[in-house]
């Protein structure tokens, strides 16, 4: 999932809804916006879809580099 993209989708959806409610678009523009809105809803739902929390652990490796492993509690 992608955080910024989800944020973009939501922001864009709000903009689309506002634009449609303003009623100052021509029909083609309004329909195009509606279609985009439907598509954004779909991708946003997809991004929020089933996922399982991943647990990781950060360590400093022997060579001084940053190392991320799965957390085993």
């Amino acid at each position: 999932m992608s955080g910024p993209s989800l944020q973009e989708d939501l922001a864009r959806l709000e903009t689309i809804v506002r634009a449609l409610e303003a009623n100052d678009l021509d029909l083609d523009g309004a329909l195009a916006l509606f279609e985009e809105g439907v598509e954004r809803l779909r991708t946003a739902r997809e991004r929020l879809g089933a996922a399982e929390l991943r647990l990781r652990q950060l360590r400093e490796a022997a060579d001084g580099s940053v190392q991320v492993d799965d957390f085993r509690g």
Partner: protein, 407 residues
């Protein structure tokens, strides 16, 4: 501990000088006792022109000679008065000149309400404030949809378990990255600083939670360490501080971008709720659909309106057209009649002229026309050769004739 000084251990050995024994005592004291905090009441406070402070710390049972050198004394806000309870941090030594044990004070804090910890806390807070680290403008907003959340805490503590539970329930799309650190004990501040610096190096982290579950004031003390607070303030990414229970505010709370009362609360603040977001998407879908329907309804309305207007204007056009047609027809009929009359008058006039020019009329008046057998009109005397047969056309017929003489 081994001492390099020649210690007298029995008869027969060289007696030590006073300087030697006091120097030994000093070394023993300085080596054996690390810098410590001492609480006591100030008495006999004296400030020398040199800037050094001399005083005695005492309690019901004992007293301790103290000195505070000019440089350290200058950092203290206001000189203490006799009778004031203070916390002092310093080291024991021996003033060899006077043969006195002496406490060299490096820091002195008045006992604030709440005692020693409150005084320490206030001192550190003042330092952080002086450096602008408590300014509200420094607080950064948290990312609304974090993907990777760092957690600086003990791997065995309740804080980590609580955070895992909350994030797992609310926002399982994320990745929780534990940065293990000791959170209590003497080496906790240094270890927390190390863990914070390490977390800062992982570039994928969006937000960092630092904290631990509840405990005694002493247990939580590492989070009131000025070094730890500075490490939190230095973080590249937004930090949520979550230390212990609801009531006490820690130093890391003050410098963090957000303070949460408990680790669970920190997790709640760090991530959005997926279910809530899905409901928001449902709501958005509803609004979107409604807006589109309204838009379409509006278009339908506009079309109907346009159609009605068009129909009306067509009717008007036809009405006006047929009016104009009637008008034109009438005007045309009038014009035709006038034209016809004019033409008839003209025709009459022409007919009169024609009549006057008719050759029959001329013949009637007694003229005759001579033509040869070919029908050519003979106009001049030279046209009439002697003996020429010709015809004379008079009004009621033709007469055959011949020129006198022979050809």
């Amino acid at each position: 501990m081994t001492l390099s000084l020649p210690l007298a251990s029995g008869p027969g050995e060289r007696p030590l000088t006073v300087a030697e024994i006091t120097a030994t005592a000093r070394e023993v004291l300085e080596t054996a006792v690390p810098p410590v905090w001492v609480v006591g009441e100030v008495s006999g406070f004296k400030k020398y022109p040199s800037g050094h402070w001399y005083f005695t710390l005492k309690d019901a049972e004992a007293q301790l000679r103290c000195v505070m050198w000019r440089g350290d004394a200058a950092r203290v806000q206001g000189a203490p008065e006799d009778g004031l309870q203070v916390f002092t941090r310093g080291a024991l030594t021996v003033n060899t000149k006077r043969g006195e044990m002496q406490f060299v004070v490096r820091e002195l804090l008045p006992t604030a309400e709440g005692g020693f910890y409150a005084a320490l806390f206030e001192r550190a807070r003042a330092n952080l404030e002086k450096d602008g680290l408590l300014a509200p403008a420094r607080k950064r907003p948290l990312p609304p949809f974090p993907q990777a959340i760092g957690v600086v805490t003990s791997p065995e503590g309740a804080a980590w378990r609580d955070i895992v539970a909350v994030v797992g329930r609310r926002w399982p799309l994320a990745e929780l990255v534990l940065v293990g650190a000791r959170v209590q004990g003497e080496d906790a501040p240094a270890d927390l600083c190390r863990a914070l610096a390490l977390a800062d190096r992982l570039e994928t982290l969006d937000v960092l939670i630092v904290g631990r579950g509840g405990g005694s004031k002493e247990d939580l003390w590492a989070f009131n360490d000025e070094r730890v607070a500075r490490a939190v303030a230095a973080s590249r990414i937004p930090v949520i501080s979550a230390v212990g229970h609801e009531t006490d505010v820690s130093l890391t709370d003050l410098v963090a971008d957000l303070r949460a009362a408990t680790p669970s609360a920190a997790a709640e603040k760090a991530v959005p709720d997926r279910g809530e977001l899905l409901r928001r998407l449902d709501a958005l879908q509803g609004t979107l659909g409604a807006a589109a329907s309204r838009r379409l309804a509006l278009v339908g309305e506009q079309l109907r309106h346009a159609a009605t207007r068009m129909a009306r204007s067509c009717e008007r056009l036809v009405e006006r057209g047929s009016e104009r047609l009637r008008d034109a027809r009438m005007r045309m009929a009038g014009a035709c009649e006038r034209l016809l009359a004019a033409r008839q008058a003209e025709a009459g006039r022409l007919a009169g002229k024609l009549d006057a020019l008719s050759p029959l009329k001329v013949l009637e008046r007694g003229y005759a026309v001579a033509r040869d057998v070919a029908g050519r009109v003979l106009r001049r005397t030279t046209d009439f050769a002697p003996g020429l047969a010709f015809r004379l056309r008079v009004v009621d017929g033709e007469v055959r004739a011949r020129t006198e003489g022979s050809s």
